[in-house]
Protein backbone atom coordinates (compact mmCIF):
# COMPACT_ATOMS: atom_id res chain seq x y z
CA UNK A 1 0.00 0.00 0.00
CA UNK A 2 1.27 3.45 -0.86
CA UNK A 3 1.06 6.13 1.78
CA UNK A 4 -0.18 9.60 0.81
CA UNK A 5 2.12 12.49 1.71
CA UNK A 6 -0.39 15.11 2.70
CA UNK A 7 -3.96 14.86 3.81
CA UNK A 8 -6.11 17.94 4.35
CA UNK A 9 -9.02 17.82 6.76
CA UNK A 10 -11.70 20.51 6.76
CA UNK A 11 -13.42 20.13 10.08
CA UNK A 12 -16.84 21.49 10.90
CA UNK A 13 -16.10 22.97 14.29
CA UNK A 14 -12.59 22.34 15.57
CA UNK A 15 -13.09 23.76 19.01
CA UNK A 16 -15.89 21.35 19.89
CA UNK A 17 -14.81 18.42 22.07
CA UNK A 18 -16.17 15.88 19.63
CA UNK A 19 -14.05 17.17 16.78
CA UNK A 20 -11.04 17.67 18.99
CA UNK A 21 -11.15 13.96 19.67
CA UNK A 22 -11.76 13.12 16.04
CA UNK A 23 -8.69 15.18 15.16
CA UNK A 24 -6.77 13.47 17.93
CA UNK A 25 -7.56 10.05 16.45
CA UNK A 26 -6.65 11.23 12.98
CA UNK A 27 -3.38 12.75 14.12
CA UNK A 28 -2.40 9.60 15.98
CA UNK A 29 -3.06 7.42 12.95
CA UNK A 30 -1.42 9.86 10.52
CA UNK A 31 1.69 9.98 12.69
CA UNK A 32 1.83 6.20 12.79
CA UNK A 33 1.74 6.11 9.01
CA UNK A 34 4.04 9.09 8.51
CA UNK A 35 1.41 11.25 6.84
CA UNK A 36 1.40 15.03 7.09
CA UNK A 37 -2.11 15.96 8.27
CA UNK A 38 -3.29 19.55 7.96
CA UNK A 39 -6.50 20.71 9.60
CA UNK A 40 -8.60 23.75 8.68
CA UNK A 41 -11.63 24.78 10.63
CA UNK A 42 -14.87 25.86 8.99
CA UNK A 43 -16.04 27.08 12.38
CA UNK A 44 -19.65 26.17 11.51
CA UNK A 45 -19.61 28.48 8.50
CA UNK A 46 -20.56 26.79 5.25
CA UNK A 47 -18.89 29.46 3.13
CA UNK A 48 -15.69 29.22 5.12
CA UNK A 49 -15.70 25.48 4.58
CA UNK A 50 -15.71 25.93 0.83
CA UNK A 51 -12.83 28.41 1.08
CA UNK A 52 -10.77 26.08 3.24
CA UNK A 53 -11.30 23.12 0.89
CA UNK A 54 -10.44 25.38 -2.04
CA UNK A 55 -7.16 26.30 -0.35
CA UNK A 56 -6.31 22.64 0.18
CA UNK A 57 -7.03 21.85 -3.45
CA UNK A 58 -4.83 24.68 -4.68
CA UNK A 59 -2.06 23.44 -2.42
CA UNK A 60 -2.51 20.01 -3.96
CA UNK A 61 -3.16 17.72 -1.00
CA UNK A 62 -3.29 14.03 -1.80
CA UNK A 63 -6.57 13.30 -0.07
CA UNK A 64 -9.23 15.64 1.25
CA UNK A 65 -11.34 14.80 4.29
CA UNK A 66 -14.42 16.87 4.97
CA UNK A 67 -16.90 16.97 7.80
CA UNK A 68 -19.70 18.91 6.11
CA UNK A 69 -21.19 21.89 7.90
CA UNK A 70 -24.19 21.01 5.83
CA UNK A 71 -24.40 17.93 3.68
CA UNK A 72 -25.94 19.64 0.66
CA UNK A 73 -23.43 22.46 0.90
CA UNK A 74 -20.40 20.43 -0.17
CA UNK A 75 -21.83 18.92 -3.35
CA UNK A 76 -19.99 21.38 -5.62
CA UNK A 77 -16.80 20.74 -3.68
CA UNK A 78 -16.93 17.05 -4.50
CA UNK A 79 -17.25 17.93 -8.15
CA UNK A 80 -14.34 20.34 -8.05
CA UNK A 81 -12.18 17.83 -6.23
CA UNK A 82 -13.02 15.26 -8.88
CA UNK A 83 -11.92 17.77 -11.55
CA UNK A 84 -8.61 18.11 -9.72
CA UNK A 85 -8.34 14.34 -9.21
CA UNK A 86 -8.30 14.62 -5.45
CA UNK A 87 -10.07 11.78 -3.62
CA UNK A 88 -12.45 12.88 -0.87
CA UNK A 89 -13.46 11.08 2.30
CA UNK A 90 -16.46 12.43 4.16
CA UNK A 91 -16.80 12.23 7.87
CA UNK A 92 -20.11 12.30 9.65
CA UNK A 93 -22.72 12.92 6.99
CA UNK A 94 -23.50 11.39 3.63
CA UNK A 95 -23.38 13.65 0.60
CA UNK A 96 -24.86 13.16 -2.81
CA UNK A 97 -22.14 12.01 -5.19
CA UNK A 98 -19.66 10.94 -2.54
CA UNK A 99 -17.27 8.01 -2.85
CA UNK A 100 -17.09 7.06 0.77
CA UNK A 101 -18.00 8.23 4.21
CA UNK A 102 -16.89 7.26 7.67
CA UNK A 103 -19.58 7.78 10.24
CA UNK A 104 -21.36 6.34 13.19
CA UNK A 105 -24.98 5.35 12.79
CA UNK A 106 -26.78 8.15 14.58
CA UNK A 107 -30.16 6.50 14.49
CA UNK A 108 -28.79 3.23 15.79
CA UNK A 109 -26.86 4.98 18.52
CA UNK A 110 -30.03 6.61 19.75
CA UNK A 111 -31.97 3.42 19.29
CA UNK A 112 -29.72 1.31 21.49
CA UNK A 113 -29.66 4.02 24.15
CA UNK A 114 -33.46 4.04 23.92
CA UNK A 115 -33.62 0.32 24.49
CA UNK A 116 -31.38 0.65 27.54
CA UNK A 117 -33.48 3.52 28.82
CA UNK A 118 -36.63 1.46 28.32
CA UNK A 119 -35.22 -1.36 30.38
CA UNK A 120 -34.14 1.06 33.07
CA UNK A 121 -37.58 2.68 33.18
CA UNK A 122 -39.30 -0.71 33.23
CA UNK A 123 -37.25 -1.73 36.25
CA UNK A 124 -37.17 1.53 38.14
CA UNK A 125 -40.15 3.66 37.09
CA UNK A 126 -42.91 1.07 36.82
CA UNK A 127 -42.72 1.33 33.07
CA UNK A 128 -43.49 5.05 33.03
CA UNK A 129 -41.52 6.86 30.32
CA UNK A 130 -42.22 10.49 29.65
CA UNK A 131 -39.39 12.00 27.71
CA UNK A 132 -38.08 15.50 27.31
CA UNK A 133 -35.96 15.54 24.19
CA UNK A 134 -33.30 18.24 24.34
CA UNK A 135 -32.73 18.12 20.62
CA UNK A 136 -31.18 20.02 17.76
CA UNK A 137 -33.38 20.13 14.65
CA UNK A 138 -30.62 22.04 12.86
CA UNK A 139 -28.65 18.88 11.98
CA UNK A 140 -29.98 15.71 10.43
CA UNK A 141 -27.61 13.61 12.57
CA UNK A 142 -29.08 14.87 15.80
CA UNK A 143 -32.64 14.51 14.57
CA UNK A 144 -31.84 10.85 13.78
CA UNK A 145 -30.51 10.32 17.28
CA UNK A 146 -33.72 11.59 18.87
CA UNK A 147 -35.87 9.47 16.55
CA UNK A 148 -33.76 6.43 17.23
CA UNK A 149 -33.99 6.98 20.95
CA UNK A 150 -37.77 7.12 20.94
CA UNK A 151 -38.07 4.11 18.63
CA UNK A 152 -35.71 2.07 20.80
CA UNK A 153 -37.53 3.12 23.94
CA UNK A 154 -40.86 2.06 22.49
CA UNK A 155 -39.59 -1.44 21.76
CA UNK A 156 -39.59 -1.93 25.53
CA UNK A 157 -42.31 0.46 26.58
CA UNK A 158 -44.78 0.99 23.76
CA UNK A 159 -46.58 3.63 25.83
CA UNK A 160 -43.51 5.84 26.07
CA UNK A 161 -44.23 9.39 25.07
CA UNK A 162 -42.12 12.36 24.04
CA UNK A 163 -43.88 15.08 25.99
CA UNK A 164 -41.59 17.90 24.98
CA UNK A 165 -39.43 18.17 21.88
CA UNK A 166 -37.01 21.04 22.38
CA UNK A 167 -34.48 22.90 20.32
CA UNK A 168 -31.62 23.31 22.74
CA UNK A 169 -29.17 24.60 20.19
CA UNK A 170 -26.66 21.95 21.22
CA UNK A 171 -25.33 24.50 23.72
CA UNK A 172 -25.39 23.93 27.46
CA UNK A 173 -26.74 27.37 28.35
CA UNK A 174 -29.44 27.44 25.71
CA UNK A 175 -30.40 23.85 26.55
CA UNK A 176 -30.78 24.83 30.16
CA UNK A 177 -32.95 27.78 29.32
CA UNK A 178 -35.42 25.94 27.11
CA UNK A 179 -35.51 22.95 29.47
CA UNK A 180 -36.47 25.17 32.39
CA UNK A 181 -39.57 26.31 30.56
CA UNK A 182 -40.48 22.81 29.43
CA UNK A 183 -40.09 21.40 32.91
CA UNK A 184 -42.35 24.08 34.28
CA UNK A 185 -44.97 23.12 31.75
CA UNK A 186 -44.76 19.34 32.08
CA UNK A 187 -44.13 18.32 35.64
CA UNK A 188 -44.44 14.58 34.85
CA UNK A 189 -41.27 14.28 32.80
CA UNK A 190 -39.03 11.45 34.01
CA UNK A 191 -36.52 10.92 31.21
CA UNK A 192 -34.28 13.58 29.74
CA UNK A 193 -32.62 12.71 26.47
CA UNK A 194 -29.82 14.96 25.21
CA UNK A 195 -28.57 14.72 21.62
CA UNK A 196 -25.13 15.52 22.95
CA UNK A 197 -23.54 15.73 26.38
CA UNK A 198 -24.04 19.47 26.60
CA UNK A 199 -27.74 19.14 25.91
CA UNK A 200 -28.15 16.37 28.47
CA UNK A 201 -26.27 18.43 31.01
CA UNK A 202 -28.36 21.52 30.27
CA UNK A 203 -31.52 19.51 30.80
CA UNK A 204 -30.25 18.04 34.03
CA UNK A 205 -29.09 21.40 35.39
CA UNK A 206 -32.52 22.85 34.63
CA UNK A 207 -34.05 19.99 36.61
CA UNK A 208 -31.74 20.67 39.53
CA UNK A 209 -32.30 24.41 39.36
CA UNK A 210 -36.03 23.88 39.71
CA UNK A 211 -35.31 22.32 43.08
CA UNK A 212 -36.42 18.76 42.31
CA UNK A 213 -34.71 15.69 43.62
CA UNK A 214 -33.13 13.32 41.13
CA UNK A 215 -35.12 10.34 42.39
CA UNK A 216 -37.31 9.08 39.62
CA UNK A 217 -35.31 10.78 36.88
CA UNK A 218 -33.18 9.25 34.18
CA UNK A 219 -30.80 11.30 32.07
CA UNK A 220 -29.46 9.88 28.84
CA UNK A 221 -26.59 11.63 27.09
CA UNK A 222 -25.01 11.12 23.71
CA UNK A 223 -21.40 11.49 22.62
CA UNK A 224 -19.13 10.63 25.47
CA UNK A 225 -16.40 12.72 23.98
CA UNK A 226 -14.89 14.52 26.94
CA UNK A 227 -14.54 14.52 30.67
CA UNK A 228 -17.93 16.10 31.12
CA UNK A 229 -20.04 12.99 30.91
CA UNK A 230 -17.65 11.02 33.13
CA UNK A 231 -17.97 13.66 35.79
CA UNK A 232 -21.73 13.70 35.41
CA UNK A 233 -22.03 9.93 35.63
CA UNK A 234 -19.85 9.92 38.68
CA UNK A 235 -21.64 12.70 40.57
CA UNK A 236 -25.23 12.88 39.32
CA UNK A 237 -27.40 9.95 40.41
CA UNK A 238 -29.87 10.38 37.55
CA UNK A 239 -27.25 10.41 34.80
CA UNK A 240 -27.17 6.68 34.15
CA UNK A 241 -26.90 6.08 30.44
CA UNK A 242 -24.48 7.42 27.88
CA UNK A 243 -24.41 6.56 24.20
CA UNK A 244 -20.69 6.59 23.45
CA UNK A 245 -19.64 7.43 19.93
CA UNK A 246 -15.84 7.10 20.18
CA UNK A 247 -14.71 10.08 18.13
CA UNK A 248 -11.08 8.94 18.27
CA UNK A 249 -12.10 5.76 16.55
CA UNK A 250 -13.91 7.77 13.87
CA UNK A 251 -10.74 9.77 13.23
CA UNK A 252 -8.60 6.68 13.13
CA UNK A 253 -10.88 4.93 10.66
CA UNK A 254 -11.16 7.98 8.46
CA UNK A 255 -7.41 8.12 7.89
CA UNK A 256 -7.41 4.45 6.98
CA UNK A 257 -10.22 5.07 4.52
CA UNK A 258 -8.27 7.96 3.05
CA UNK A 259 -5.23 5.75 2.52
CA UNK A 260 -7.34 3.07 0.83
CA UNK A 261 -8.96 5.62 -1.41
CA UNK A 262 -5.55 7.06 -2.30
CA UNK A 263 -4.51 3.59 -3.44
CA UNK A 264 -7.58 3.29 -5.57
CA UNK A 265 -8.93 0.42 -3.54
CA UNK A 266 -12.56 -0.51 -3.48
CA UNK A 267 -14.15 1.00 -0.34
CA UNK A 268 -17.70 0.69 0.94
CA UNK A 269 -19.87 3.78 0.58
CA UNK A 270 -20.50 3.89 4.29
CA UNK A 271 -17.78 2.76 6.65
CA UNK A 272 -19.54 2.46 9.96
CA UNK A 273 -17.70 3.48 13.08
CA UNK A 274 -18.95 1.65 16.15
CA UNK A 275 -20.89 3.10 19.07
CA UNK A 276 -21.82 1.62 22.41
CA UNK A 277 -24.33 2.23 25.14
CA UNK A 278 -22.67 2.64 28.52
CA UNK A 279 -24.72 2.18 31.64
CA UNK A 280 -23.59 3.17 35.12
CA UNK A 281 -19.80 2.88 35.33
CA UNK A 282 -19.32 0.84 32.18
CA UNK A 283 -17.41 3.76 30.68
CA UNK A 284 -14.39 2.56 32.62
CA UNK A 285 -14.01 -0.25 30.09
CA UNK A 286 -13.23 2.26 27.38
CA UNK A 287 -11.70 5.21 29.10
CA UNK A 288 -9.43 5.83 32.02
CA UNK A 289 -9.06 9.17 33.71
CA UNK A 290 -6.06 10.55 35.47
CA UNK A 291 -6.44 14.04 36.84
CA UNK A 292 -7.81 15.97 33.90
CA UNK A 293 -6.54 13.74 31.13
CA UNK A 294 -8.67 11.05 29.65
CA UNK A 295 -7.08 8.20 27.73
CA UNK A 296 -8.79 5.78 25.43
CA UNK A 297 -8.50 2.02 25.88
CA UNK A 298 -8.00 1.08 22.24
CA UNK A 299 -8.23 -2.63 22.84
CA UNK A 300 -11.77 -2.49 24.12
CA UNK A 301 -12.88 0.20 21.72
CA UNK A 302 -11.57 -1.75 18.75
CA UNK A 303 -13.44 -4.75 20.04
CA UNK A 304 -16.78 -2.98 19.80
CA UNK A 305 -18.56 -4.41 16.79
CA UNK A 306 -19.74 -2.03 14.10
CA UNK A 307 -22.92 -2.64 12.18
CA UNK A 308 -22.62 -3.31 8.47
CA UNK A 309 -25.29 -0.79 7.68
CA UNK A 310 -27.42 1.67 9.58
CA UNK A 311 -31.06 1.05 10.34
CA UNK A 312 -31.96 4.52 9.17
CA UNK A 313 -29.99 7.39 7.60
CA UNK A 314 -30.51 11.01 6.72
CA UNK A 315 -31.88 9.89 3.40
CA UNK A 316 -34.85 8.38 5.23
CA UNK A 317 -35.80 11.60 6.96
Amino acid sequence: QEIPERIGYVVNYATHEWYQNVIKGMTDRANELGIELEVRDANQDAARQVSAAEDFMSQGVDVLIITPVNEDGVVPLLRRAAQDDIPVVLEGNPVRGMTTMVAICDYDTGYHAGVAAGEYARDNFDGQARVMNVGLPLLSATVLRSEGFMDGLRTILPEAEMVHDLDGGGNPDRALEVSSAALAQNSDINIIYGINDNSAQGGLQAWKASGRSQDGLLVVGTGGEGLGFINLMATEPAYQIEAAMFPEKVGYTTIDAAVSLFNGEEVPEHIVSPTATMIGDEWQQYYSVEGTTRSINWENVNAVPAADACMKTAADL
Binding site: E17, H164, Q185, A206, S210, G211, G226, G228
Partner: protein, 326 residues
Protein backbone atom coordinates in the same frame (compact mmCIF):
# COMPACT_ATOMS: atom_id res chain seq x y z
CA UNK B 1 -42.74 72.57 46.93
CA UNK B 2 -45.10 75.48 47.49
CA UNK B 3 -42.56 78.03 48.59
CA UNK B 4 -40.62 77.94 45.32
CA UNK B 5 -42.00 79.03 42.00
CA UNK B 6 -44.23 76.50 40.32
CA UNK B 7 -41.78 75.91 37.49
CA UNK B 8 -39.32 74.62 40.06
CA UNK B 9 -41.56 71.68 40.85
CA UNK B 10 -39.97 68.45 39.72
CA UNK B 11 -41.97 66.35 37.30
CA UNK B 12 -44.15 63.82 39.02
CA UNK B 13 -42.64 60.45 39.91
CA UNK B 14 -44.95 58.62 37.57
CA UNK B 15 -44.06 60.78 34.62
CA UNK B 16 -40.41 60.45 35.38
CA UNK B 17 -40.74 56.69 35.41
CA UNK B 18 -42.79 56.42 32.28
CA UNK B 19 -41.39 59.37 30.42
CA UNK B 20 -39.84 57.30 27.68
CA UNK B 21 -40.93 54.38 25.64
CA UNK B 22 -41.45 52.44 28.84
CA UNK B 23 -45.21 52.75 28.67
CA UNK B 24 -45.30 50.83 25.40
CA UNK B 25 -43.16 48.08 26.90
CA UNK B 26 -45.34 47.83 29.98
CA UNK B 27 -48.40 47.41 27.79
CA UNK B 28 -46.68 44.80 25.63
CA UNK B 29 -45.51 42.91 28.68
CA UNK B 30 -48.97 42.88 30.21
CA UNK B 31 -50.60 41.75 26.97
CA UNK B 32 -48.04 38.99 26.55
CA UNK B 33 -48.51 37.71 30.08
CA UNK B 34 -52.26 37.64 29.76
CA UNK B 35 -52.27 35.95 26.36
CA UNK B 36 -49.69 33.33 27.28
CA UNK B 37 -51.40 32.39 30.50
CA UNK B 38 -54.71 31.99 28.68
CA UNK B 39 -53.00 29.52 26.37
CA UNK B 40 -51.00 27.79 29.09
CA UNK B 41 -51.89 28.32 32.74
CA UNK B 42 -48.55 26.82 33.79
CA UNK B 43 -47.06 30.14 32.75
CA UNK B 44 -47.95 31.50 36.16
CA UNK B 45 -46.65 28.54 38.10
CA UNK B 46 -44.07 29.46 40.70
CA UNK B 47 -41.57 27.22 39.01
CA UNK B 48 -41.94 28.93 35.68
CA UNK B 49 -41.88 32.44 37.08
CA UNK B 50 -38.72 31.56 38.94
CA UNK B 51 -37.22 30.07 35.78
CA UNK B 52 -37.99 33.20 33.81
CA UNK B 53 -36.58 35.45 36.49
CA UNK B 54 -33.43 33.40 36.74
CA UNK B 55 -32.87 33.71 33.00
CA UNK B 56 -33.62 37.42 33.15
CA UNK B 57 -31.09 37.80 35.93
CA UNK B 58 -28.09 36.89 33.79
CA UNK B 59 -29.10 39.12 30.93
CA UNK B 60 -30.15 41.99 33.17
CA UNK B 61 -26.86 42.05 35.03
CA UNK B 62 -24.92 42.53 31.82
CA UNK B 63 -27.56 44.71 30.19
CA UNK B 64 -27.34 47.17 33.10
CA UNK B 65 -23.71 47.79 32.29
CA UNK B 66 -24.36 47.79 28.57
CA UNK B 67 -27.03 50.47 29.02
CA UNK B 68 -24.44 52.71 30.64
CA UNK B 69 -21.97 52.00 27.86
CA UNK B 70 -24.48 52.83 25.16
CA UNK B 71 -25.45 56.03 26.95
CA UNK B 72 -21.76 56.94 26.96
CA UNK B 73 -21.87 56.31 23.19
CA UNK B 74 -19.80 53.14 23.25
CA UNK B 75 -20.70 49.49 22.83
CA UNK B 76 -19.24 46.13 23.84
CA UNK B 77 -19.80 43.10 21.63
CA UNK B 78 -17.33 40.91 23.47
CA UNK B 79 -19.66 40.23 26.40
CA UNK B 80 -20.77 36.82 25.13
CA UNK B 81 -17.24 35.50 24.72
CA UNK B 82 -16.17 37.10 27.97
CA UNK B 83 -19.15 35.56 29.79
CA UNK B 84 -18.02 32.05 28.88
CA UNK B 85 -14.38 32.79 29.62
CA UNK B 86 -14.97 34.28 33.05
CA UNK B 87 -17.17 31.32 33.95
CA UNK B 88 -14.35 28.97 33.01
CA UNK B 89 -11.86 31.01 35.00
CA UNK B 90 -14.16 31.15 38.02
CA UNK B 91 -14.64 27.38 38.00
CA UNK B 92 -10.98 26.67 37.43
CA UNK B 93 -9.78 28.93 40.21
CA UNK B 94 -12.38 27.54 42.58
CA UNK B 95 -11.13 24.07 41.77
CA UNK B 96 -7.56 25.08 42.42
CA UNK B 97 -8.08 27.10 45.58
CA UNK B 98 -11.14 25.42 46.99
CA UNK B 99 -12.49 28.85 47.73
CA UNK B 100 -15.63 30.19 46.17
CA UNK B 101 -14.61 33.68 47.18
CA UNK B 102 -11.31 33.48 45.32
CA UNK B 103 -12.93 31.76 42.36
CA UNK B 104 -15.67 34.36 42.18
CA UNK B 105 -13.21 37.19 42.49
CA UNK B 106 -11.07 35.66 39.76
CA UNK B 107 -14.06 35.43 37.43
CA UNK B 108 -15.07 39.01 38.11
CA UNK B 109 -11.48 40.20 37.85
CA UNK B 110 -11.15 38.43 34.54
CA UNK B 111 -14.28 40.14 33.22
CA UNK B 112 -13.02 43.46 34.53
CA UNK B 113 -9.68 43.03 32.80
CA UNK B 114 -11.42 42.31 29.52
CA UNK B 115 -13.32 45.53 30.11
CA UNK B 116 -10.07 47.30 30.88
CA UNK B 117 -8.54 46.01 27.68
CA UNK B 118 -11.54 47.13 25.66
CA UNK B 119 -11.53 50.48 27.39
CA UNK B 120 -7.84 51.06 26.77
CA UNK B 121 -8.11 50.11 23.12
CA UNK B 122 -11.06 52.44 22.69
CA UNK B 123 -9.82 55.42 24.68
CA UNK B 124 -6.07 55.24 24.13
CA UNK B 125 -5.76 53.76 20.66
CA UNK B 126 -9.03 55.48 19.63
CA UNK B 127 -10.35 52.39 17.91
CA UNK B 128 -14.09 52.55 17.35
CA UNK B 129 -15.66 50.44 20.08
CA UNK B 130 -17.82 48.37 17.75
CA UNK B 131 -14.85 47.03 15.84
CA UNK B 132 -12.53 46.95 18.83
CA UNK B 133 -14.92 44.72 20.73
CA UNK B 134 -15.61 42.49 17.71
CA UNK B 135 -11.84 41.98 17.68
CA UNK B 136 -11.81 41.31 21.41
CA UNK B 137 -14.60 38.83 20.90
CA UNK B 138 -12.44 36.94 18.41
CA UNK B 139 -9.42 37.06 20.70
CA UNK B 140 -11.47 35.71 23.59
CA UNK B 141 -13.06 32.99 21.48
CA UNK B 142 -9.61 31.86 20.50
CA UNK B 143 -8.11 32.47 23.90
CA UNK B 144 -10.64 30.37 25.74
CA UNK B 145 -9.59 27.29 23.78
CA UNK B 146 -5.98 28.07 24.39
CA UNK B 147 -6.87 28.16 28.07
CA UNK B 148 -8.87 24.96 28.07
CA UNK B 149 -9.95 22.65 25.31
CA UNK B 150 -12.54 21.00 27.50
CA UNK B 151 -15.28 22.15 29.78
CA UNK B 152 -13.89 22.72 33.27
CA UNK B 153 -15.64 20.31 35.61
CA UNK B 154 -16.68 21.04 39.13
CA UNK B 155 -14.05 19.24 41.25
CA UNK B 156 -14.58 21.08 44.46
CA UNK B 157 -18.21 20.20 45.19
CA UNK B 158 -18.67 23.24 47.39
CA UNK B 159 -22.36 23.81 48.11
CA UNK B 160 -21.99 27.57 48.16
CA UNK B 161 -20.82 27.57 44.55
CA UNK B 162 -23.93 25.88 43.22
CA UNK B 163 -26.14 27.81 45.62
CA UNK B 164 -25.09 31.01 43.90
CA UNK B 165 -27.46 30.20 41.10
CA UNK B 166 -29.82 27.58 42.48
CA UNK B 167 -30.17 28.77 46.05
CA UNK B 168 -33.04 30.77 47.45
CA UNK B 169 -33.44 33.51 49.98
CA UNK B 170 -36.99 32.95 51.12
CA UNK B 171 -38.95 32.42 47.92
CA UNK B 172 -36.53 34.42 45.78
CA UNK B 173 -33.69 32.78 43.84
CA UNK B 174 -30.25 34.08 44.68
CA UNK B 175 -29.34 35.22 41.14
CA UNK B 176 -32.51 37.30 41.03
CA UNK B 177 -31.47 39.02 44.23
CA UNK B 178 -28.00 39.64 42.84
CA UNK B 179 -29.47 41.03 39.63
CA UNK B 180 -31.84 43.24 41.56
CA UNK B 181 -29.00 44.64 43.63
CA UNK B 182 -26.92 45.29 40.52
CA UNK B 183 -29.87 46.90 38.81
CA UNK B 184 -30.71 49.15 41.74
CA UNK B 185 -27.09 50.18 42.13
CA UNK B 186 -26.83 51.03 38.45
CA UNK B 187 -30.15 52.85 38.54
CA UNK B 188 -29.08 54.99 41.48
CA UNK B 189 -25.71 55.73 39.94
CA UNK B 190 -27.18 56.69 36.62
CA UNK B 191 -29.99 58.84 37.95
CA UNK B 192 -28.82 60.27 41.20
CA UNK B 193 -25.08 60.67 41.14
CA UNK B 194 -22.56 62.87 39.45
CA UNK B 195 -21.06 59.89 37.67
CA UNK B 196 -24.41 59.16 36.08
CA UNK B 197 -24.79 62.72 34.89
CA UNK B 198 -21.28 62.62 33.50
CA UNK B 199 -22.04 59.43 31.59
CA UNK B 200 -25.00 61.10 29.91
CA UNK B 201 -22.97 64.24 29.25
CA UNK B 202 -20.05 62.40 27.70
CA UNK B 203 -22.39 60.44 25.49
CA UNK B 204 -24.31 63.53 24.44
CA UNK B 205 -21.29 65.67 23.54
CA UNK B 206 -17.84 64.51 24.41
CA UNK B 207 -16.03 67.68 23.37
CA UNK B 208 -18.28 69.85 25.47
CA UNK B 209 -17.95 67.47 28.39
CA UNK B 210 -14.19 67.64 28.25
CA UNK B 211 -14.25 71.41 28.05
CA UNK B 212 -16.43 71.40 31.15
CA UNK B 213 -13.68 69.60 33.01
CA UNK B 214 -14.77 65.98 32.73
CA UNK B 215 -12.18 63.34 32.09
CA UNK B 216 -14.19 61.68 29.40
CA UNK B 217 -11.65 58.99 28.63
CA UNK B 218 -11.29 57.89 32.21
CA UNK B 219 -15.03 57.88 32.58
CA UNK B 220 -15.48 55.68 29.52
CA UNK B 221 -12.69 53.44 30.67
CA UNK B 222 -14.48 53.13 33.99
CA UNK B 223 -17.76 52.17 32.34
CA UNK B 224 -16.00 49.55 30.23
CA UNK B 225 -14.37 48.06 33.31
CA UNK B 226 -17.64 48.15 35.23
CA UNK B 227 -19.49 46.40 32.40
CA UNK B 228 -16.67 43.87 32.28
CA UNK B 229 -17.07 43.22 36.00
CA UNK B 230 -20.76 42.61 35.55
CA UNK B 231 -20.00 40.19 32.73
CA UNK B 232 -17.61 38.41 35.07
CA UNK B 233 -20.33 38.23 37.70
CA UNK B 234 -22.80 36.85 35.19
CA UNK B 235 -20.17 34.35 34.03
CA UNK B 236 -19.73 33.19 37.60
CA UNK B 237 -23.48 32.69 37.95
CA UNK B 238 -23.64 30.83 34.66
CA UNK B 239 -20.80 28.51 35.69
CA UNK B 240 -22.64 27.86 38.90
CA UNK B 241 -25.88 27.21 37.07
CA UNK B 242 -24.20 24.83 34.61
CA UNK B 243 -22.02 23.34 37.30
CA UNK B 244 -19.18 23.52 34.77
CA UNK B 245 -17.08 26.16 33.12
CA UNK B 246 -18.29 25.87 29.53
CA UNK B 247 -16.15 27.31 26.76
CA UNK B 248 -19.03 26.97 24.31
CA UNK B 249 -21.47 28.99 26.40
CA UNK B 250 -22.50 32.53 25.66
CA UNK B 251 -22.98 32.23 21.91
CA UNK B 252 -25.14 35.10 20.75
CA UNK B 253 -25.41 36.45 24.28
CA UNK B 254 -24.14 39.85 23.11
CA UNK B 255 -27.03 40.11 20.67
CA UNK B 256 -29.55 39.23 23.36
CA UNK B 257 -28.14 41.95 25.59
CA UNK B 258 -27.93 44.60 22.92
CA UNK B 259 -31.37 43.76 21.60
CA UNK B 260 -32.73 44.25 25.11
CA UNK B 261 -30.93 47.54 25.65
CA UNK B 262 -32.07 49.09 22.40
CA UNK B 263 -35.58 47.71 22.78
CA UNK B 264 -35.51 49.51 26.12
CA UNK B 265 -35.11 52.78 24.29
CA UNK B 266 -31.43 53.51 24.72
CA UNK B 267 -29.93 55.37 21.81
CA UNK B 268 -26.85 54.04 20.09
CA UNK B 269 -25.69 57.56 19.47
CA UNK B 270 -25.28 58.12 23.16
CA UNK B 271 -26.75 60.54 25.67
CA UNK B 272 -30.15 58.89 25.87
CA UNK B 273 -31.58 55.85 27.58
CA UNK B 274 -32.96 54.52 30.84
CA UNK B 275 -32.41 51.42 32.90
CA UNK B 276 -36.11 50.91 33.55
CA UNK B 277 -36.56 50.53 29.83
CA UNK B 278 -33.81 47.93 29.75
CA UNK B 279 -35.41 46.01 32.61
CA UNK B 280 -38.77 45.93 30.87
CA UNK B 281 -37.20 44.92 27.59
CA UNK B 282 -35.33 42.04 29.21
CA UNK B 283 -38.60 40.86 30.73
CA UNK B 284 -40.46 41.15 27.44
CA UNK B 285 -37.84 39.19 25.52
CA UNK B 286 -37.53 36.45 28.12
CA UNK B 287 -41.30 36.11 28.50
CA UNK B 288 -41.62 35.65 24.75
CA UNK B 289 -38.86 33.06 24.76
CA UNK B 290 -40.47 31.18 27.61
CA UNK B 291 -44.02 31.58 26.34
CA UNK B 292 -43.26 29.97 23.00
CA UNK B 293 -42.06 26.83 24.77
CA UNK B 294 -44.87 26.84 27.30
CA UNK B 295 -47.37 27.19 24.45
CA UNK B 296 -45.54 24.41 22.60
CA UNK B 297 -45.19 26.53 19.54
CA UNK B 298 -42.48 25.89 17.00
CA UNK B 299 -39.27 27.12 18.54
CA UNK B 300 -38.25 28.83 15.31
CA UNK B 301 -40.73 31.47 16.39
CA UNK B 302 -38.31 32.34 19.17
CA UNK B 303 -36.48 34.37 16.56
CA UNK B 304 -39.42 35.70 14.60
CA UNK B 305 -41.57 36.98 17.45
CA UNK B 306 -38.82 39.00 19.18
CA UNK B 307 -37.92 40.45 15.79
CA UNK B 308 -41.50 41.59 15.31
CA UNK B 309 -41.73 42.91 18.86
CA UNK B 310 -38.52 44.93 18.56
CA UNK B 311 -39.76 46.62 15.42
CA UNK B 312 -43.34 46.95 16.60
CA UNK B 313 -42.51 48.40 20.00
CA UNK B 314 -40.21 50.98 18.50
CA UNK B 315 -42.84 51.96 16.00
CA UNK B 316 -45.59 52.21 18.63
CA UNK B 317 -43.30 54.40 20.68
CA UNK B 318 -42.74 56.71 17.73
CA UNK B 319 -46.47 56.98 17.19
CA UNK B 320 -47.02 57.69 20.87
CA UNK B 321 -44.36 60.37 20.94
CA UNK B 322 -45.79 62.06 17.89
CA UNK B 323 -49.26 62.18 19.37
CA UNK B 324 -47.79 63.44 22.65
CA UNK B 325 -46.17 66.29 20.83
CA UNK B 326 -49.50 67.61 19.65
Amino acid sequence: MTETASSVAPPSRLRALTGNNEIVLIVILAVLCVLISIGAPQFYSVENVVAILRQCALVLIVASGMTMLLIAAEVDLSVGASLAFSGVVAMDVTNKTNSVLLGGLAGIAFGASVGLFNGLVVTRLRVNSLIATIATMMILQGGIYLYTREAVQNRHSIRLFTDLSTGYVGPVPVPVIIAALVFIACYVVLRHTMVGRYIYAVGANEKAARLSGLRSERLKLGVFVFTGMLVGLAGLLLASLMNTGQPTAGRGFELQVIAAVILGGTSLMGGRGTLIGTLLAVLVLKVIDNGIIILRWNQDLQMIVPGLVIIGATWLDLVRRKSDAR
